[in-house]
């Protein structure tokens, strides 16, 4: 696959949130508004970029049996580094993102991409994959956060677009509301894919190679 394809697959075809369904914990927990979604997305993209690059360049040195602990150390190092650098040089951004940074360690998108992609691919492909997956993650979080924020307060990025419209719909602000909105988003995305397939005279099937089996973390037989 070309670099462009590796990059663009994360945005729609293999979107980490809407298709791979990875990292549900931060997706549901921090998308109370669009700002938080954007912050979490950008911070995760930075860590994903660093960890994918390092994992892909070290893949021949790391023995298969201890690869997961090694990846976790690499990811945790990058998370701490991103946190320190933000605190030191971008305090304004740190104030907005600070609480999300430690959460990235437990974001399984980062570990999932290290294991499922970077450990088997070239450095350039891994970087393209990290950028694409990061962008797809950020977009999904901003859309989800935006919808929830608009339903809760009638605002977007804390800016009110309909003057004087004072709604207070608390369900969408709760994690349960996040689950409902995410379900509707995934349904909408599948519906779009189905319409597209129908136009071409085909039947849409969810990509089979993207289900749980594409991630080998729990597949301990071959080691």
């Amino acid at each position: 696959m070309s670099l462009g394809k590796e990059f663009s697959k994360g945005i729609w075809k293999e979107n980490p949130v809407l298709v791979l369904l990875l990292g549900m914990c931060p997706v549901l927990a921090v998308t109370g508004d669009a700002y938080n979604g954007l912050g979490m997305g950008i911070a995760s993209t930075c860590v994903l970029l660093g960890s994918n690059t390092v994992v892909s360049s070290c893949k021949s040195f790391i023995p298969k049996k201890v690869r997961i602990p090694c990846y976790i150390i690499i990811i945790a190092t990058f998370v701490t580094m991103v946190g320190l650098v933000l605190k030191a040089y971008l305090p304004a951004l740190d104030k907005a993102l600070g609480i999300f940074i430690p959460l990235i360690v437990v974001n399984c998108i980062v570990l999932g991409r290290a294991e499922a992609f970077a450990a088997k691919s070239t450095i350039a492909n891994s970087i393209a994959d990290a950028l694409g997956m990061g962008l797809g993650f950020t977009l999904a979080l901003v859309v989800l956060g935006g919808i929830r924020e608009f339903l809760t307060n009638g605002t977007l990025f804390t800016i009110q677009f309909v003057p004087g419209w004072n709604v207070s719909f608390l369900l969408s602000n709760s994690p349960a509301g996040a689950f409902i909105v995410l379900g509707l988003l995934i349904a909408g995305m599948n519906w779009l894919n189905m319409m597209k397939a129908k136009k071409q005279g085909k039947v849409f099937e969810p990509p089979k190679h993207l289900d749980c089996r594409q991630c080998n973390i729990c597949n301990m037989e071959d080691i």
């Binding site: 023995p63 049996k65 190092t77 650098v85 305090p91 800016i159």
Partner: protein, 260 residues
């Protein structure tokens, strides 16, 4: 067959070595980054504090952080702490004062106080106070209250509308304090201990004895939000701690800050 156990041993050895190598490299890289960023992090924290001070009371031209007076609560009395080797940034039994000077003259005092009674733990507030001990402005700087519920008590964020942005209404909202009825109610208030509350003080509604430094629900003077009573109580307590420490050590603080 005889080769297999040997190979296995070797691989365990390699496993240990490689995992240790990764851990050591990670530790070295992290300690390097930590030592490089230690200075800038400290600087950024100081800048944030000075920016908060300027929001509370912009009329000063010194660096308030160079002089400070730190007080510790020892059995009900605030005692000055000198030559502190390792001073905590903010702790419930610590109140700090910083001078605000204009053209070399002391104009007002910045105070930082922490209350331990918050819903999520410690809550730290900063205030500008006059030399007499009356609040000019208060803002909460560190807290762990519930976002969207407890934070409503002290949040000074305003809802921006798209028309307001086009009209340019929000130009100085980042450098000025936006109104918040609960926080603004503190402005002008003064503290006296219960036993020194005289009839003369009673005629001035801004001078409150210690027993009135509570939220209305507890029989005090201050506003609160239903559903966030604990946070409202905590903010009142943090402000009371600052004024209490100032009242008990007023002369000493003024002497320290006007010595230069």
């Amino acid at each position: 067959m005889s080769n297999q156990p040997k190979k296995k041993n070797e691989s365990i050895f390699i496993l240990i070595i490689s995992l240790c190598t990764v851990a050591v490299v990670a530790a070295v890289v992290l300690s390097l980054v930590a030592s490089i960023t230690a200075g800038p992090i400290k600087k950024a924290k100081i800048e944030t504090t000075v920016r908060t001070f300027a929001k509370l009371q912009p009329n000063f031209d010194n660096d308030p952080l160079t002089d400070k007076a730190v007080f510790k609560l020892v059995s009900g009395k605030w005692k000055i702490q000198k030559n502190l080797k390792k001073e905590p940034l903010a702790a419930p039994d610590i109140v700090k004062f910083y001078p605000a000077e204009k053209d070399g003259k002391l104009v007002s005092i910045f105070a930082q106080g922490t209350s331990p009674e918050g819903y999520g733990g410690n809550l730290t507030a900063v205030a500008a106070i006059t030399k007499d001990g009356a609040i000019i402005n208060v803002e909460v700087t560190q807290s762990q209250e519930t976002a969207g519920l407890g934070t409503n008590v002290y949040s000074r964020e305003i809802t921006k509308t798209i028309w307001g942005i086009i009209k340019g209404e929000y130009k100085d909202t980042d450098t000025k304090l936006n109104p918040n009825p609960i926080m603004d109610f503190f402005n002008g208030k003064m503290y006296v201990p219960d036993n020194e509350y005289t009839a003369k003080d009673k005629s001035n509604p801004d001078i409150l004895p210690e027993e009135r430094w509570k939220v209305k629900k507890d029989g005090g003077e201050f506003k609160y939000i239903t559903g966030a009573t604990i946070t409202s109580r905590t903010v009142t307590d943090a402000v009371k701690r600052m004024l209490q420490a100032y009242y008990q050590n007023k002369e000493q603080i003024l002497k320290m800050f006007s010595k230069k």
